[in-house]
């Protein structure tokens, strides 16, 4: 067993874990944060994307123990008391999901993309950056629209939205 201490969505999270425990297993099975999904479990589909120290990572391909001392943000950590995160709202407004399975990973990837490349995102950039996130329903068009709109909305909200990171 290995002692693991990290901060998840702003709260301390500690456990004695089997070293094999993946970050996604820790989040889902130990913390019951089931918004992060396991799709392929082979780091291809992106349903498990969370932020680790401000970077989007695939939580099925990171050991929980590696995250000791890290700040982790999951989809549950994006919304606040005032309501949905602008990127979540944009997915709703633009019908950026159908079954919704890929959506948590899409949104975490999209927020990371805005942090890295800014608020004005063209379609080509968004499509390239979605390389590691698969959606089997939508054909991506509305996801791309949602991300462009969500990025604009994040610009309007200003830096307050990035406090969670």
């Amino acid at each position: 067993m290995v002692a693991v201490n990290m901060t998840v969505n702003g709260k301390p999270a500690s456990a004695e874990l089997d070293p094999r425990t993946l970050l996604v297993q820790f989040l889902r099975d130990h913390l019951r944060l089931t918004g992060t999904h396991v799709g392929c479990d082979t780091s291809q589909c992106g349903a498990c994307v969370v932020h680790m120290d401000g970077h989007a990572v695939k939580s099925c391909t990171v050991l929980a123990a590696t995250c000791s001392g890290s700040q982790v943000t999951t989809i549950e950590g994006l919304a606040n008391a005032a309501g949905l995160h602008p990127m979540q709202e944009a997915f709703r407004e633009n019908h950026g999901l159908q079954c919704g399975f890929c959506t948590p990973g899409m949104i975490m990837t999209a927020v990371d993309l805005v942090h890295r490349k800014g608020f004005a995102l063209d379609e080509t950039t968004i499509r390239e950056e979605l390389e590691g996130n698969l959606c089997r329903c939508t054909g991506y068009h509305n996801i791309v629209k949602a991300i462009a709109a969500g990025a604009q909305a994040m610009a309007a909200e200003g830096p307050a939205q990035q406090v969670a990171e």
């Binding site: 993946l22 082979t42 990572v57 990171v62 590696t66 993309l113 590691g132 996130n133």
Partner: protein, 266 residues
């Protein structure tokens, strides 16, 4: 995954100590290849030494003639580094095409070359640029480092500390991706450093990365795309599988080599 004992050193010295000489001990870098292989039980480690808390293995340093990158430096850091973009823009561009954004946030230079996947990008960059791999014990020239499929010159107890890339006059990288896996079916890195011209091919060789010597000779006359006209890579030693047969890969080598030279001379 099979069970393992987990270790989290904070210095390279501690990591080397934990590594010892036991072949049952594995190093965990970014984990983007090793963890999937462990999940499939293709790899078993009695002890796993996690390098993610070893800060001294990270970082990019630039001198007039070389660029030195720590083994635990992430692909995204190399892709976004102004120093890399200025000294060896082809290397930054190459790093920006590895995997996807989330993979690049974790994957590392040291992990990539120590794993030596036959379709990985970094081995071709190291070989073409004439890099020197610095371990905790010695310096190894890239020509002597890559030994075959998933095989390197690293000995038990040896870990990659950093890689030093001489700054080339010109360099370029072009790859043809497998449409599903996005790995390189064929990737070609070319570099020109005064009279030394190197063409390194990844993805194609049954024995991993290799230099295409005929193309190097042809480019020595003039380092332009036209010098490669009519040159065909041999199918000897190339992979043939359901994704591409050896003839197709040989064809792609010539096409990617031209594109890489075009980028280098643009």
């Amino acid at each position: 995954m099979y069970a393992f004992d987990y270790h989290r050193p904070t210095t390279a010295r501690q990591a080397a100590g934990l590594l010892g000489k036991d072949e049952d001990v594995r190093l965990l870098a970014g984990g983007q290849s090793l963890l999937p292989m462990m999940k499939l039980r293709l790899v078993q480690a009695g002890d796993l030494v996690d390098l993610n808390a070893v800060d001294e293995l990270r970082g990019i340093a630039r001198s007039p003639r070389s660029l030195t990158i720590g083994a635990m430096t992430r692909h995204a850091e190399v892709a976004d580094s102004p120093d890399v973009a200025e000294a060896i823009p082809a290397l930054a561009a190459m790093a920006s095409t590895i995997g996807d954004p989330a993979v690049r946030a974790m994957g590392t230079l040291g992990g990539s070359i120590a794993n030596n996947d036959p379709a990985a990008d970094y081995p071709s960059a190291c070989l073409a640029l004439g890099a020197t791999i610095v371990t905790n014990k010695r310096k190894i020239e890239a020509d002597d480092f890559f030994k075959g499929l998933f095989e390197t010159a690293l000995e038990p107890g040896e870990l990659v500390v950093k890689v030093s890339f001489p700054v080339p006059a010109k360099a370029g990288y072009a790859k043809f991706r497998h449409p599903a896996s996005r790995f390189a079916l064929v990737g070609v890195f070319v570099a020109k450093r005064s009279a030394d011209i190197r063409v390194a091919v990844t993805g194609a060789g049954a024995n991993g990365v290799f230099r295409w010597l005929e193309a190097e000779e042809a480019l020595k006359a003039r380092f332009i795309v036209k010098s490669l006209d009519g040159l065909v890579a041999s199918t000897d030693g190339l992979n043939s599988d359901i994704h591409a047969d050896a003839e197709y890969r040989a064809h792609l080598i010539a096409v990617m080599a031209k594109r890489a030279v075009q980028q280098a001379t643009a």
